[in-house]
């Protein structure tokens, strides 16, 4: 995927899969395989933000966690800075965790209610022996300041903070071990608009100052457009489109991406727009449709029997613009 002249990717994900076995029903027991992530490949360059968007259940959160090995991937490969993450065990894996961090969605459940904010931010320093005693205290204060919190707050408990402030604590915790890559898992979707903007700005500033790379997972397309360099769209465990943000939002190639973009309500009552309403629900990832997983809901005029049989590969249809649709011609 990368041109020869470009620097080596920081993160290289190839054909990543995560299948869960789920037991349904007590009476009629069924074991079914849920293909939460079903063959996902992408790169993240140093300092780059890759947006990962999709509706609930599309596998975006599982992708983020599988990369960090917070859930064990079923198959595939993840290389970070050239090292095979899936081959790491025990202490090696724990050491590697310094380089990659995660910020969560839920500002209530992401902080241990029994620890002070200072202790939460300090934990990473202790685990990786980055600082002790006085030096650690100083570092914690510095980190809190950096995310826009008063250092005096280190002695307080999470419940004394608002949602936006808690998100800042979560960011400080991630920064404490000085990672070069952070998975931002819906970091602003639980926040109100005005606070959401504060946190998005903070993440953007930190990225610039620290040359951080983000995998920015979200369902809000507008937020992703604002922060991402490139965007990948997921549907039912697959990446169906991947392109530079500007290209993807201006000229989406996949019928799904188009429908998704057109469904976003716009705060402009007069705007003339053509809305594509998708019918039906997202199918269950335990029983994905054959061929193109999107075909039952697809409204592409050229949809035909081939769509139900051929699994469309993610192909480069235009320079740097990948789409998984057999009806989209190359060079579109």
């Amino acid at each position: 995927m990368s041109a020869p002249a470009r620097p080596a990717p920081l993160l290289q994900v190839r054909d990543l899969r995560k299948h869960f076995t789920r037991t349904r029903g007590v009476v009629r027991r069924e074991h079914e395989v849920v293909r939460a992530v079903d063959g996902v490949s992408f790169d993240v360059m140093p300092g780059e933000t890759l947006g990962l968007v999709g509706e609930s259940g599309c596998g975006k959160t599982t992708t983020g966690r599988a990369i960090l090995r917070l859930v064990e991937p079923t198959s595939g490969s993840v290389h970070f800075d050239g090292r095979d993450l899936l081959a790491l065990r025990g202490g090696d894996l724990r050491r590697m965790r310094r380089r990659m961090q995660i910020v969560f969605q839920d500002p209530f459940s992401s902080l241990n209610p029994r620890m002070t904010v200072g202790a939460i931010v300090r934990e990473g320093l202790t685990i990786h022996r980055l600082a002790e005693g006085e030096a650690a205290d100083r570092r914690v204060r510095q980190l809190l300041e950096e995310v826009g919190l008063r250092p005096e707050y280190a002695g307080r408990y999470p419940h004394e903070f608002s949602g936006g402030q808690r998100q800042r604590v979560g960011i400080a915790r991630a920064l404490s071990v000085e990672p070069s890559f952070i998975v931002c898992d819906e970091p602003v979707s639980a926040l109100d608009v005005s606070v959401q903007a504060q946190v998005v700005n903070l993440l953007a500033d930190l990225r610039r100052e620290r040359q951080l790379a983000y995998l920015f997972i979200a369902h809000d397309l507008a937020v992703v457009e604002h922060i991402a360099d490139r965007v990948a769209v997921m549907y039912l465990g697959h990446i169906v489109e991947l392109a530079r943000a500007r290209d993807l939002y201006r000229e989406p190639l996949m019928p799904y991406t188009r429908a998704l973009l057109s469904a976003v309500p716009v705060p402009d009552p007069g705007a003339a727009r053509e809305r594509i309403i998708l019918h039906g629900d997202v199918p269950s990832p335990a029983h994905p449709p054959s061929g193109c997983v999107f075909h039952p809901r697809c409204q592409h005029p050229a949809k035909d029997a081939a769509c139900t049989q051929v699994v469309p590969p993610l192909e480069e249809k235009a320079p740097g613009h990948f789409a998984a649709c057999i009806k989209v011609p190359a060079g579109a």
Binding site: E55, Q165, S194, A197, N201, P265, P267, I277
Partner: protein, 340 residues
């Protein structure tokens, strides 16, 4: 505006908690005309959901609607009705759709049962008749194979289908007013689009009024004819939808619009509103937004702003209406500089 269907006058709903009196709704006034869709927007903690529950008098202790509040519906003050008369209105004249369709449905009854229950309460329909009506209603809200679906339990349906069931339940008695409290917040955008379209369609068909409560300005812009912006338990701005988005007057409304990331509108950084919503136990004196407002001056601390007319049908609770020269542009910039 014609004789309103619903007129809320100086509604105050307080919660008497150990931490003090939380004035969740504190002086809200708004009106809904027959057949109209009014959008109520605001961030969490602004009192919009409590207002909705107050209309149906479903606020649970320690919450209480304070004396002096009035909710006029079809000419009667709901707050003066006895419980029996109020029950005859709930679900029949005023119906409600909630945010979380999973938890809002009873897990141990079939969805058909739950929809039919409304007809059994209000129309005294027999079991069989109510069931038939329920199936017809499920069909009307776009549930495929309603006969079979009616016999299923909520956990067997998808989120979108569950919300359709909620809507079917609400519309069984063809109410005059539908209160929809964040009806699409728990849903994905593509499903949200389906549900919003369904609501608009049903509203036209039944000629009912809709009070749509949401935090999403986009949803309001696309569905409402008039908008009420709430902050600190009261309405800070009301206007026809076009006017509000074209020329927002209140600094809070402006800040909200500026903070919202929009598709296709790339900015270097997002505008933010500094600080956080104050606690409902301690609204600031004077203007409740003044701590976060870049235009605030002495008067804002001294005097609680009254409702100023801005244009026909457009009102704002901001002293800037008197002294427009003091406005210093849209809400203050800067996220990093903001200290918690």
């Amino acid at each position: 505006m014609a004789e309103p269907l619903l007129a809320i006058e100086d509604l105050r709903t307080y919660f008497y908690t150990a931490a003090g009196v939380a004035r969740a709704v504190d002086g809200l006034s708004l009106a809904v005309a027959p057949g109209e869709t009014v959008g109520v927007v605001g961030e969490s903690g602004c009192g919009k959901s409590v207002s909705a529950l107050s209309i149906l008098r479903l606020v649970s202790p320690p919450g209480r609607i304070e004396p002096g509040s009035r909710i006029l519906f079809e000419g009667r003050d709901l707050l003066a009705l006895d419980e029996r008369a109020m029950r005859a209105i709930r679900g029949r004249r005023i119906a409600m759709v909630f945010q979380e369709p999973m938890t809002a449905l009873n897990p141990v009854f079939t969805v058909g049962d739950q929809v039919a229950e409304v007809a059994r309460i209000h129309a005294r329909a027999s079991r069989a008749v109510a069931w038939k009506q329920a199936v017809a209603m499920l069909d009307r809200v776009g549930i495929p194979a309603p006969d079979e679906r009616a016999r299923e339990y909520p956990h067997q349906l998808s989120g979108g289908m569950r919300q359709r069931v909620m809507i079917a339940m609400a519309l069984m008695m063809k109410p005059a007013l539908l209160i929809a409290d964040e009806p699409t917040t728990a849903l994905d955008v593509t499903i949200q689009a389906q549900i919003l379209e369904l609501l608009a369609e049903l509203q036209r068909e039944y000629g009912m009024s809709v009070l749509l409560i949401t935090h999403d300005l986009g949803v309001v812009a696309e569905t409402a004819s008039r908008v009420v912006v709430m902050y600190g338990g009261e309405a800070v701005e009301q206007a026809p939808v076009a006017a509000l988005f074209a020329a927002p007057h209140h600094p809070y409304t402006r800040g909200l619009l500026a903070a919202m990331p929009r598709l296709g509108l790339l900015r270097e950084r997002l505008q933010t509103i500094p600080g956080t919503v104050p606690a409902p136990t301690a609204w600031p004196d004077g203007c409740r937004f003044r701590d976060r407002c870049s235009s605030a001056w002495e008067r804002c601390a001294a005097e609680h702003p009254p409702v100023y007319p801005i244009a026909p049908g457009h009102e704002s609770r901001c002293h800037l209406a008197h002294e427009p020269a003091r406005r210093d542009g849209p809400a203050a910039a800067g996220g990093r500089a903001v200290r918690a």
